[in-house]
């Protein structure tokens, strides 16, 4: 489930897409694409997008899933950050994400934290994480 989801993130990011787009852009068989869309929607990884034409459903990546995956950490987080295309721009930095959007970034985790969390508002939607190995990494001796 995560593999095609990350492919959809990498390919479409915020844009809505249809079953046919998965077939055309990712080379999936129609049945596989439909099955993925059905399961991913059930799991709330995807949400319904705007209807372009009558009876043609579109789907979008659920922005709140981004935060959940980052908070879960591990390999899926690394793959998601890569799929979002953040490695090229923020490698070695800390980023603050709100959905797909990088709202702030810094080499220093604490400086970023001070800026982001000085206000109470909007904290629930923002998530902070590293992109690759931080240049100014936190070290713990024990």
């Amino acid at each position: 489930m995560m593999r095609p989801f990350l492919e959809a993130v990498r390919t479409f990011k915020l844009k809505p897409f249809r079953t046919a787009d998965l077939v055309e852009n990712l080379g999936y068989a129609t049945g596989y694409a439909r099955n993925f869309l059905s399961q991913a929607t059930r799991q709330r990884l995807l949400v319904a997008g705007p209807k372009e034409r009558k009876r043609e459903k579109t789907f979008m990546v659920n922005p709140s899933v981004i935060r959940k995956i980052i908070l879960k950490g591990g390999r899926e987080k690394e793959e998601l950050i890569e799929a979002l295309g953040l490695h090229s721009k923020y490698l070695g930095e800390y980023i603050a994400l709100k959905g797909f959007e990088v709202v702030d970034h810094d080499l220093n985790l604490y400086t970023l934290g001070e800026r982001i969390f000085s206000d109470v508002e909007g904290q629930d939607e923002i998530v902070i994480t590293n992109v690759g190995i931080p240049k100014k990494i936190i070290t713990i001796e024990i």
């Binding site: 904290q123 713990i140 024990i142």
Partner: protein, 126 residues
């Protein structure tokens, strides 16, 4: 120079280790903890799982940290720290770890006495 506020070593392990008492608060909860002083920690505060539970902290992120054994991923929490003897009242990020730690970010700009003979960790005053 004189000796100011001192904190007793924690002797729950041998040899005993230095600690500092800090009050940590979240939006709805407050707890006073005595984290281990870790001069190898370049951050401010690491908070153990029990304190995370007590303070009902929700993670605001995750990050890689470097330990003696390699890289580890830890959760990040927003906490308010208060330590009147160090004139510290600040909102900061704390990392989630097995045991609570105070790092160099909270110790800097002070002169310290590590008195292993008397088992105390003290602020040196001018």
């Amino acid at each position: 120079m004189g000796i100011g506020k001192c904190w007793k070593f924690n002797d729950c392990e041998q040899p005993p280790y230095p600690t500092i008492e800090v009050t940590v608060s979240s939006a709805d909860h407050k707890a006073t903890i005595s984290p281990k002083v870790d001069t190898g920690f370049n951050g401010s505060l690491a908070i153990d799982r029990e304190s995370v539970k007590t303070l009902s902290l929700a993670p605001v992120g995750t990050t890689l940290v470097k330990t003696a054994t390699g890289h580890n991923e830890v959760s990040l929490y927003v906490v308010s720290i208060s330590q009147p003897d160090l004139a510290i009242i600040q909102k900061t990020l704390a990392i989630g770890t097995k045991r609570s730690l105070v790092g160099r970010k909270l110790l800097e700009k002070r002169t310290w006495l590590l008195d292993c003979k008397k088992g105390r960790f003290c602020i040196i005053t001018d």
